[in-house]
């Protein structure tokens, strides 16, 4: 980070709140290349492993009286299935596996990031931008494949007065292309902001006078972060469903 830690002379801990987001190679060296195994790689792999463990172990027995793992797996499946069906419609269920994968990966990456000393992969724009761009490209391609040139009707608001339509078209085009930006930055920004706030409070914990307040604040923020982790994954998924609905039914 460009700014060095300056808490030392004021009695705070010597670390910068953004230090937790530094990408480090795991096996020595400091160069991060295209295929270097870094802490991001490790925690993404752990997230994938956790998802696979939950879904495979949970559904391998298929007991009539479900075990706890099976209950959680079924709950997650039903939750996402209902979301896709309600928001994007019945014909969007063909994309359910993709949306389920997105949701499970983001939710597990977020929750693994909450473990102390771990690394939050979804707080990096590089990770979320890839996820959001994939959604954007998928939705655009699906829109054109399913509707052909009628997909452009998304930008041409037929219900508006004729004089207003060109103006609205410009606004619609801009808002369409801002989608991947806001989609990705919302997730990364929320997580990064929350984790940075926790670290800022942790910096105050070394000052004896305010340390009880600081510890209480860290606990409260942590509770909020658990909520945020889930809600942001939910929001990311539900917006994917909304975009998918626009692609499948482009008329307003």
């Amino acid at each position: 980070m460009a700014v060095e830690a300056q808490g030392a002379e004021e009695g705070g801990l010597v670390f910068h709140p953004m230090d937790q987001f530094i990408v480090k190679p795991l096996f020595g060296g400091s160069e991060v290349g295209m295929f270097t195994i870094t802490n991001v790689t490790l925690w993404m792999f752990l997230a994938v492993l956790a998802v696979v463990a939950l879904m495979v172990l949970g559904t391998s027995r298929r007991a009539i009286i479900p075990s706890r793992t099976q209950s959680v797996g079924e709950l997650a499946y039903g939750f996402v299935y209902k979301m896709v069906e309600d928001v994007a419609g019945k014909d969007a269920l063909a994309f359910f596996p993709y949306i389920m994968t997105l949701f499970m990966f983001i939710v597990f990456a977020n929750f693994l990031g909450l473990i102390p000393m771990s690394f939050t992969t979804t707080s990096h724009f590089a990770v979320t931008v890839v996820l959001a761009l994939l959604v954007f490209v998928t939705v655009t391609v699906v829109g054109f494949v399913k509707n052909g040139s009628k997909f452009l009707g998304l930008f041409w608001v037929a219900s508006a007065p004729l004089a207003l339509r060109p103006v609205l078209a410009v606004i619609e085009v801009i808002s369409y292309f801002v989608r991947p930006v806001s989609h990705s930055i919302r997730l990364a920004g929320n997580l990064m902001a929350g984790h940075a706030v926790i670290k800022v409070f942790a910096g105050f914990a070394a000052i004896a006078v305010v340390s009880p307040i600081s510890v209480v604040a860290i606990t409260a923020m942590y509770g909020l972060e658990i909520l945020v982790s889930f809600i942001q994954a939910y929001v990311f998924t539900i917006l994917t469903c909304v975009y998918l609905k626009d692609a499948l039914h482009p008329s307003h």
Binding site: A2, M18, I185, R186, I238, L239
Partner: protein, 74 residues
């Protein structure tokens, strides 16, 4: 001097988070007002609630991003 100006700019960008807070409060408050008038329709509208909150919050996150850029990238 320029670096200090960037820090002032980052502080000004933080006003955006307050504005987003007003927006999110509006969405949630109106949802609650509607939900208390007609509780049976409330459950079906939670998805809309979260979409609305997400859109209102996105702009606050943008201002946070501007603040970060001013702090670390300028």
């Amino acid at each position: 001097m320029e670096g200090q100006l960037a820090h002032i700019g980052a502080g000004l960008a933080a006003i955006g988070s307050g504005a987003a807070a007003i927006g999110v409060g509006n969405v949630a408050g109106n949802y609650l007002a509607g939900a208390l008038r007609n509780p049976s329709a409330a459950a079906s509208q939670t998805a809309t609630l979260f979409i609305g909150i997400a859109f209102a919050e996105a702009l606050g996150i943008f201002s946070f991003l501007v603040a970060l850029l001013l702090m670390f990238a300028v």
